[in-house]
Amino acid sequence: MTRSPTIRVPAEWLFLGLAVALGWFSWRSDDSALRGFPVQREVGDLRVMTWNVGEASGTHGNPLRDTSVKAVIDTIRRSRAELVFLQELQSRSQLRGIVEGLGGEPWRSATSGEGQRILGVLGRGSLTARSVALSRGRDALQVVYQAGSQAVLAVSLHADAFSAKKRNLQIGEVMSHLEGRHQRWPTLLVGDFNLDLDLDKRRDLFSNDEYRDVESYNLVTQELHDAGLGKGATAEPDRRLDYVFYHPAHLRLQEAGPLSGSRFGSMDHDPLVADFSWESTLSAD
C-alpha cells in the first residue's frame, strides 16, 4: 500500500498568500477613487458652478490674471453651467470680458462691487444681484436668477482664508441673511469657504481654530445640504474648500463634483459643479 504524498506549505507562505488575497480584495473593491464631475451628463434643470479663479503666485496670491481669462471662458463653456459664481476676479471689466468671450447674450453678469478680488456671477438668464454687507471682510453677493419659469435665490461668499473666527462670523451672517428665505425660494449658498472638514485627514494644519470651522460648517448643514460632500478635493493640497449648499425643500441634487483639470497658470482651485432638478415648483412671483 502506498501513501499519497502530502504537500506541506510553510505557514509563512500561507500568511503571505492570505495577505495578497485580502490586499487584492481591498484594493479591487476600493471605489473611493474620485472621478470628478461628468460634464458629458445631460444637464439638469439647473447646473451651477462655483470657482475661485485666483492664482497662488506671489506673497498673498493674485486675482485672476487677464492671461487666464480665456481658460476660464473655455471651462465655463465645457461645464455647460447656466449659473456661474466666480471668486477673486480682478475687476468688473474683467467679468464683462468673460461675458463677451462667452458670446454676450443671453449671458448676464453682476459683481459684488469694485476693486480687487471681487465676486462675480454669470447667468444665462435674467439676473438681479446685490451685495450683502458683512461686518468682517469682503461682501457676499446675493443673486436672484430666473431659470426658466423658476426663480432661484443664491448667495456667493468668499470667506476669510486666514482667520477661522472671521469665517465663522461671515458664514453666520450669511446664514442669518438667508434665514426663512428657503421657504419661499429654491436657495443656494456657494463659494470658497476656506474650510475643510473631510473625514480622511487632519484639518488643523490649515486652520488657526479647527473647532470654530467645525461650528461654522455645522451651522450651515443644519439648514442646507452639502452638494460636494464625498466628491473630493477642490483645492491644493488635497483640500475641499469650495462648496455648493442647497436647501432640499425645492431642489434635488442630481450630481456634483469638482471639474478636475481646469486650473490654468498658478490657479489652486478647481471649479465645483452641481446639477439640480426642481423638487417643487414655486411661483416666479
Binding site: 505557514a11 500568511f15 503571505l16 495577505a19 485580502l22 476600493d30 473631510d198 485627514k201 460648517y217 448643514t221
Partner: protein, 278 residues
Amino acid sequence: MSLSLEALKLRRSRRPWVVLAALVLYVILMLFGFATYAETETGGNVEFRYTFENESYFNGLTFAVYAFYFAALLLLPVFASTEGGVQIAGERSAGTLPLLLSRPVSRQRVFLSKFAVAGASLAMGVGLFLVLVLGVGLVFVGWGELRLYPGVLQMTDRPQSLSQAEALVRFLWVWPAASLAMLAPLTLSLLISTWSRSAVNAVGLSVSIYLVLSVISEIHFFRELRPFLFTSTLGYWRGLFREDIPWSQIFREASRLLAFSAAFLGVGLWRFRRQEER
C-alpha cells in the same frame, strides 16, 4: 502547551497592570477635561459665536466616544506595539529563548502561540477599556442619545443622532472591529521583535515606526502614500457609529488591515524559523 505557557507568562507579567494604570489615568484626565470643557461651552460663559451644539450634546456616550477614539488611535496601538515588541526580543534578551526552543515544540508553534496570546489579551484590553469608558460615562456624566457632527472626531460627514440603545449596540460592534485594528501594530512589532536582540530596542523602534506612519497618513501632502500605510485605516471602526453604516467601506478597510497583519506575521514567522539562536 505553548499557548498555556504564554498565557501564564502574561498573567505573571506586570505589563497588563501598567497598561491598566495608564488607561485609568487617561480616563480620569479625559473626564476632567471633558467636564470643564462641557461646562464652559454650554454654560454661557464664552463670547458669542454661532454654534450648532445644545446642552444635551455632552453626555456619557459622547464622553465614551471621545475617550475611546483617542485611546484607539494613540494609546492602544502603542500598547500593542509594546506587547509585540517584547515577545521574541524579550525572551532573547533575558536568555530564555534557547530554553524555550529546546522543548519538542516547533518554532512555528512558539511564534504563533505568542501572537495568539498577545492578540487575545489586546482584544480583552479593548473590551475592558470600552466597558470602563462607558461605565465612567454612565456614572459621572449620564448616558443619552449619541449625537455626532461633521468635523468632530472625523466620525461622520453629516449631522446625525443614534438612540441610546442603538449607540450601545454600536459600541459592542466596535469591540471586535477595534481589536482587529490592533493586530497591525501588534504584528509589525512582533516582526521587528524577531530581528532585535533587545526588547527595549524592539519596542522603541515599533512605537517610533507607528508614530511616524500615523503622522504621515494624516497629512495632506502624502495623499499618494496613504493607501500603502496601515495607519490610514486604523480608525475604520468609526464607520460603525454612523446612522447608515458604510459596510462595504468597513469590509474593505478591515481587509486591508488584515492583509497588513498577515504580511507582517508571515515575514516575522519566516524570519523566526530561519534564525540561529546563540
